[in-house]
């Protein structure tokens, strides 16, 4: 039993921290965010060069076969430096969704790994976060399928070249049987993409599909398990991101309370402030321990669904509480765009929503542990 990274994982971790320090220096953050496309393209190319994009791709698909722990090593850095580069949405998640999905999938995965295409997953509809709660339909049309319906939210979907769209080939919303998965190019006829920026500067979208041609991924009508398994990988990766962000927010707060003087003394000398910082660091430890246990359980291939649901709930609760307190202890300046803690809070709030919020996963945990 050991929690430490091995040498290779430690190298990835260090590399992510270096990358973050170089590319996402907190002092230049507003400038970086203003660049949008150009900066994102440059960083994505660098990530490809570093081998990160090949990392989570299975060896059978020509990748490096990195597991959840290797991804965690990178995501802690992503969270610590609040990188908006969509490593999970454009790499970890599509690689898992496409794995073993057929010849055309293999070709696309290769391009994902090379940083040549971005694929985003369109899984969620108005009905909520349950991946089986979908009503979009895919009707057989000659050799192919035509998709019709609406996808309410596509995480980091604004700049995708392709979408992985879940749609029903049978059954009704809520049933796991009959859920299928399709590839749709962003330029497809009948596809309308509405793009949005979120408060943490991620770029999402929603989709409207009317008779859009889709290429099936995996077996028709049996995609529910594939989707949930891939979603678990994405969730666990985001947990590590949340932990990295929380720890950075606590460190920033510690620095601040040690130096900020009021009433002639550092505010960190007040017990009421100290105990709040303690609670923040306890929350970090809870989140870190759960994330590590959930990640390694997923990595060893054991049943991890209820543990991942539990971790998703608790890490979101802890992450939001920590970031809120970080803002609080910074005082007025904590609410400013200028200071990094306000960015941590916004990211933690949005991370809660990614792939299901606290309440959804709590209900899911209750269901799984009935």
């Amino acid at each position: 039993m050991q929690f430490a990274f091995n040498d290779e994982q430690q190298m990835l971790h260090d590399s992510a921290l270096r990358f973050g320090a170089d590319e996402w220096n907190a002092a230049d953050r507003l400038k970086r965010l203003a660049e949008v496309g150009e900066g994102a393209a440059r960083r994505w190319a660098q990530m490809a060069e570093l081998g990160w994009l090949m990392l989570p791709v299975a060896e059978e698909d020509g990748g490096l076969g990195g597991g959840p722990v290797e991804v965690m090593a990178i995501m802690e850095g992503v969270g610590r430096h609040l990188m908006t580069d969509a490593y999970v949405s454009h790499c970890v998640l599509p690689a898992a969704l496409l794995a073993g999905g057929g010849e055309h999938c293999a070709a696309l995965i290769e391009q994902v790994g090379a940083g040549q295409v971005r694929i985003a997953a369109a899984l969620i509809e108005e009905e909520g976060f349950d991946t089986a709660a979908i009503s979009s339909r895919a009707a057989a049309d000659g050799d192919g399928f035509k998709l019709t319906g609406a996808k309410a939210h596509v995480e980091d979907g604004a700049d995708a070249d392709w979408y992985l769209v879940s749609a029903r080939t049978a059954g009704v919303s809520g049933e796991r049987d009959g859920v299928s998965l399709f590839l749709v190019p962003a330029s497809a006829e009948g596809l309308t993409v509405q793009r949005f920026r979120s408060v943490d500067s991620h770029r999402h979208c929603s989709l409207d599909l009317t008779d859009v041609a889709g290429i099936p991924v995996g077996a028709i009508g049996e995609a529910a398990d594939r989707i949930d398994a891939a979603r678990d990988r994405a969730i666990v990766a985001h947990l590590a991101e949340a932990v990295g962000s929380m720890e950075a927010a606590v460190e920033a707060t510690l620095d601040y309370v040690r130096t900020r003087q009021q009433f002639g003394v550092p505010i960190g000398s007040f017990q009421v402030v100290q105990h709040k910082v303690v609670d923040m660091s306890v929350a970090c430890e809870e989140a870190r321990a759960l994330t590590m246990v959930a990640t390694s359980q997923l990595a060893r291939g054991g049943e991890a669904s209820s543990l991942i649901a539990a971790a998703k709930v608790r890490v979101a609760q802890c992450g939001i509480a920590v970031a809120q307190q970080a803002v609080q202890l910074h005082g007025g300046v904590g609410t400013s765009e200028e200071l990094i803690v306000s960015h941590h809070l916004r990211r933690q709030m949005m991370l809660d929503l990614a792939h299901g919020d606290r309440d959804y996963h709590k209900a899911r945990f209750a269901e799984l542990t009935r």
Binding site: M1, Q2, V69, R258, V293, S296, A366
Partner: protein
């Protein structure tokens, strides 16, 4: 990062599981799940069974009669004990004074006292707190004056749990008023049948007798019963600091027992619209506590891995104590909630057998749990420790 069990650990797990299989009497379980102590006779019986198996002192080194288990083995042992609804071993001898004796005690003290702790022959209590010395223990005023080969001790100890059943007590007493307050405090081992000791029960809100005041009037304690050097008693507590993460870990691992009781009670309880366990509001509450308990179990795993690697855990033992104690309060409160109106039937005025199931255990447990955020360093003190040790504030 690898949390798999090694093959030899899996074998050990099997061995422990077999030991515990069907070994805990049904009538112990409600008390155990409520986080309450079994009767001293039952706890001693349990200790004897473990001792016969060679497992009487799980955390002690082999040379003192312990198991010499690795942190991984300890984790397995406590996991299995917890799953079997076994009680936690009484810790005052095993975890509080035993390690001090084997680290700082004389050979004679080691030879005499240690085997008696393991066998369950001696029940120890801790005479530390006083009316004016709670969280600020160094304010203690109990005096020990040298008189020939003895010390004559006078003072008033508070919150001396299980003094009423103990054979022996370890006390901190002032042997000097010179220098810093922490100096001049000595650690002494006292036979409870020494003349001059008077025990008076403290009645607590849970109506269970666990704790006492102890008055010491001219109690003569042989100088040979001082542990280590006179005036150095305060420092000996340090050996416990490193061990306390294990105590916190072990205690936290018994939390799932209470949660099982909550589940069972909610599964039995009929409400207007089906069973309580099927109500989304209740399930959300239960899920919340269960999830936080899982977080604490994950923190425990990290502590054990640190211990296995010989790494410092910083204040993460304190973090586990903080969270475990809060959660045991929440879990027992939820158990009471699950019982509904019948939780008001605390004691039978007539036929005892008419008491509702789980009563009075659940409510006693919920009330007793209030002390968990106070004893062993209150939550406020734990936060001070974390602020100082981890955060440098």
């Amino acid at each position: 990062m690898n949390l798999d069990l090694a093959p030899e650990d899996r074998e050990f797990q099997q061995e422990v599981r077999e030991f515990f299989a069907n070994s805990i009497p049904e009538d112990w379980k409600k008390t155990v799940r409520a986080g309450l102590r079994l009767s001293p006779e039952n706890l001693v019986a349990y200790q004897r069974r473990l001792a016969e198996r060679g497992w009487g002192a799980p955390t002690w080194p082999k040379e003192y009669g312990g198991t010499g288990w690795t942190p991984q083995q300890l984790h397995i042992f406590w996991s299995e004990a917890s799953a079997a609804d076994a009680p936690a071993q009484f810790h005052q001898g095993l975890e509080l004074i035993g390690p001090i004796i084997f680290t700082y005690g004389s050979q004679a003290q080691k030879d005499f006292y240690l085997p008696r702790i393991i066998s369950g022959e001696d029940w120890w209590c801790q005479g530390y707190s006083e009316p004016g010395a709670g969280s600020d223990l160094a304010a203690l005023r109990t005096r020990a004056d040298r008189d020939g080969d003895d010390y004559v001790v006078n003072g008033h100890k508070m919150w001396t749990s299980y003094a009423h059943v103990a054979d022996r007590m370890f006390i901190l007493a002032r042997t000097s008023n010179e220098g810093r307050r922490q100096q001049g405090i000595s650690l002494m081992l006292v036979d409870m049948d020494t003349p001059g000791i008077r025990i008076s029960p403290i009645h607590t809100l849970d109506e269970k007798h666990h704790t006492n005041e102890v008055f010491l009037d001219d109690v003569r304690i042989p100088a040979a019963n001082v542990v280590g050097e006179e005036g150095m008693g305060w420092n000996y507590g340090k050996v416990l600091l490193d061990r306390e993460r294990m105590v916190a870990a072990a205690t936290a691992m018994f939390l799932p027992q209470t949660l099982r009781a909550v589940r069972e009670a909610a599964t039995r309880r009929k409400t207007g619209h089906g069973l309580l366990i099927d109500k989304p509001e209740f399930r959300a509450k239960l899920a919340q506590v269960e999830i936080e308990a899982m977080a604490v179990q994950a923190m425990v795993l990290r502590l054990m891995a640190d211990a296995a690697a010989g790494a410092d855990s910083g204040p993460r033992g304190s973090m586990v104590k903080l969270r475990w104690s809060e959660l045991t309060q929440q879990a027992t409160a939820l158990w009471v909630e699950a019982l509904g109106p019948k939780a008001q039937h605390f004691a039978a005025l007539g036929d005892e057998s008419e008491l509702p199931e789980d009563m009075p255990f659940a409510l006693k447990g919920a009330l007793y749990a209030r002390v968990t955020t106070i004893y062993g360093g209150s939550s406020e003190i734990q936060r001070n420790i974390i602020a100082r040790r981890a955060l440098g504030l």
